[in-house]
């Protein structure tokens, strides 16, 4: 059993861990990062292979070895989910993600207050735990800016210091300066979507993405090959942690990355202080790292799981759980979809960055009046392929044929043969509300390859508020699809209650130790030298992909650790 000592140990070296490794390393702190998977390079991603990376999910956890189980309610047994939407290598999900890089709206940070002010408290579903964040957009703006410029995000501003700009997102919160890189080129699905949306008076714009449209920081620009979501980038134009922060962390001389290292326990002492972590090495060895500062930055399930597994006599309900909120308020996006297909032209949606290419924000957040609609909050609506990647396997798996056409046989063959290159899919990424009974806990029946109980998600998105919102958005998307001049317009089937993309919550942040697990910096209220950083801390989720907000929060936490905590360890709030 090896024991190592360090200043900081980070569990999970992905979107969060990579930034922390570089920023804390630059400040002279000795950092060890534990990463469950391998460290790959850009050369590993050439040529592209849809079977391997999309269908067999090689950049994601193997659900048989590292199961996460799901059940719609507490009355039934949970079963492993066969798609896990996060990464399993250094760089984490940023290696294979679609790169959507959003700043949340001002009202996304105060959805509860905004709702009460505009619609009254009774508008909030009684069983929802909708809450404001302990941080405002204005607090986070400098760190959004830092993330965009440090990592490399392409887009066009729609609100520069309050000045609205056509062609950008006019609903976005005011930004201090333009994006570091111009918007990516439009593909034909984006052109059609923009034309249709404008006809209806909406405000389409190129989705901001962490893919560089021009050479940046010694990296070459995007080649528009289309292999983004599910794939590593073959030229390094995707601003993943692999090509941005990890080289920077290496250069500090203060960072050590341990791959194949699975953390199984957070160690604490009788004084209630974290002393480090224990992990299994790639050879099955049992090892311990002693650290002054412990930061958990895995995907959301493992925050809750590790804290529950690390319970002691002093922390009988799991670490950092004096509030009783650990594992609660879990959220996920649902992707409601409408297909638009053309008999008279090609669309070739497989060209260009694949995910959520062009957007309207008109029906997101509180950008529209919800009076009388029977639901709160909205969705980002975008155009792209059926399942965020556009290859033929993904299309065959995810593109439901129109009503009346079977999913196999000669008619299906002809459908796929005709429309594979002649369609676009509109996608509403819904902001589902938080509910306290949507939870993560330890599965009593299923264990992973190391013998640890699997994280178990209890979740069903089909709440009245959510169902009403999806129907509203479906109708809006059908309207846009028709305005796009599509020959055929039809809805995709909705998922059963299973959580969709971007799982969030479980270690909610707040201003009050009685109702939250961590403060605005991700510092646990109960154990000041234990931090949890990532989307597990989100009190609400917005209709946007979470990564840039996760990264902005990470820069903010790194700043507070370097400027304040490093010299005077203790509560930051």
């Amino acid at each position: 059993m090896a024991i190592e000592k360090t200043d900081v140990v980070i569990v999970g070296v992905g979107a969060v861990g990579g930034i922390l490794a570089a920023e804390l390393g630059k400040a002279g702190m000795k950092v060890i990062g534990l990463e469950r998977g391998p460290r790959l390079t850009t050369a590993d991603f050439n040529p592209h292979d849809e079977l391997r990376y999309f269908q067999r999910q090689e950049l994601r956890p193997n659900w048989r070895k590292q199961p996460v189980t799901w059940r719609p309610n507490t009355g039934v047994r949970a079963h492993p989910m066969n798609i896990l939407n996060y990464g399993n290598q250094a760089g984490g999900g940023t290696v294979h993600y679609g790169t959507l890089s959003w700043r949340m709206h001002e009202d996304d940070f105060r959805a509860r207050s905004q709702t009460i002010e505009r619609y009254g408290a009774s508008a909030i579903p009684q069983d929802s735990s909708l809450a404001d964040w302990p941080v405002t957009y204005a607090d986070l703006e400098p760190f959004y800016d830092q993330a965009e410029y440090d990592l490399g995000v392409s887009g066009k501003a729609g609100n520069l210091q309050g000045r609205k700009i056509d062609g950008g997102n006019v609903f976005e919160a005011p930004r201090n300066r333009e994006y570091p890189l111009p918007a990516l080129l439009m593909d034909q699905s984006g052109v059609l979507f923009a034309e249709g949306a404008k006809k209806l008076g909406y405000h389409p714009f190129s989705s901001p993405r962490a893919i560089i449209s021009e050479p940046y920081h010694d990296r070459p620009s995007c080649t528009y090959c289309g292999f983004c979501q599910s794939f590593g980038c073959h030229v390094g134009a995707k601003s993943s942690i692999l090509v941005t922060k990890l080289p920077e962390a290496d250069a500090t001389g203060n960072f050590k990355l341990l791959t194949g290292a699975t953390c199984y326990h957070v160690n604490t002492d009788n004084s209630g202080r974290a002393t480090g972590v224990s992990y299994y090495g790639p050879d099955g060895s049992d090892n311990t790292i002693e650290a002054d500062l412990v930061i958990l930055a895995p995907f959301i399930y493992d925050n809750t799981r590790l804290l529950l597994l690390s319970k002691t006599a002093k922390f009988p309900n799991g670490l950092a759980n004096s509030s009783g909120q650990l594992g609660k308020h879990v959220m996920a996006h649902i992707m409601a979809k409408v297909f638009a297909a053309y008999d008279d032209r090609y669309v070739n949606v497989y060209m260009g960055p694949s995910a959520q290419k062009h957007t309207i924000d008109d029906f997101n957040a509180d950008n529209f009046d919800h009076s009388g609609l029977g639901f709160l909050r909205g969705a980002q609506i975008s155009i792209g392929p059926a399942d965020l990647e556009a290859g033929p396997i993904g299309t065959a798996m995810s593109m439901d044929p129109p009503p009346g056409t079977p999913k196999w046989g000669a008619a299906y063959r002809d459908f796929l043969g005709k429309y594979f290159a002649r369609y676009g899919a509109l996608n509403a990424q819904t902001e589902n509300l938080a509910y306290a009974d949507q939870t993560i806990d330890l599965d009593p029946d299923v264990r992973d390859q190391w013998g640890m109980p699997a994280p178990r998600v209890t979740y069903d998105w089909r709440r009245p508020n959510e169902v009403a919102r999806v129907e509203f958005l479906m109708q809006k998307m059908e309207g846009v699809a028709r305005a796009m001049g599509a020959t055929k317009v039809w809805r995709a089937a909705l998922s059963p209650g299973v959580p969709g993309a971007h799982h969030e919550g479980g270690t909610r942040m707040g201003n009050d130790p009685k109702t939250s697990v961590v403060n605005r910096y991700g510092q646990t209220w109960d154990i000041p030298n234990l931090f949890l950083i990532g989307s597990s801390t989100f009190p609400s989720m917005s209709g946007f992909n979470p990564t840039l907000t996760i990264q902005a929060l990470t820069y903010m936490s790194a700043d507070a650790i370097v400027k304040r905590y490093k010299n005077k360890p203790g509560p930051l709030v």
């Binding site: 849809e50 080649t223 528009y224 060209m351």
Partner: protein, 228 residues
Amino acid sequence: MTKHDASRRAFLVRAAVGAGAAAGAGLVPDAIAQNHDHMEGGAAAPGAQHPSGSEHGAFFNHADAATIAAFTERLMPSAPDKPGARDADVLNYIDLALAGAYAELQDFYRRGLAQLEAYCRGTYKEPFVRLKPEQQDEVITALENGKATGFAYPTAREFFGILRTHTMEGMFADPLYGGNKDFAGWRLVGFPGAQAVFTPSDMQSKQAFSREPIVGLQTIAKGPAGRA
């Protein structure tokens, strides 16, 4: 590609041809019509019409191969200028996958095939490969809707779902994996493969993309990606 030895190739080709014969005329070679249970376990039946011991799939025995070939061909039928499962060699893809990446599904397939045969014999008094195409479609529909009786593990829906998924993988995965023969699947839908670059003018086109070649992991093919 050591698994692509000549005898295995012959085995698979014959199974696929058998499927075509079944679909075309309702007739199959006696070897293919052997009782599934009899063939289970790899015991080669005696007689000239049976495969010799050296002719085998990477996973499937001859009878199972014939069933899979016939089933997948109904899921994605071949027609002139419209490549289907037989043209793409979907059987070869699934056979290789079950001997490798999907080895954990071997039992799933064995049990699923046995249940399928029992269902067909119970309902039609014939194995799946001997049924007329319309009857085969009835069987597949019953699986898809969970109406086929006698399925426990896998359930009828699960078996249908995996067979559909693996058929699509065999149609559209890179030919390196044994299916999508000569880019048959990619030609069907007009997918140009793993192109490293699309140009601004590619992105502006309202036409089918037709620049040669189709790009695969090990091979490239001349000729337009789309159908002629």
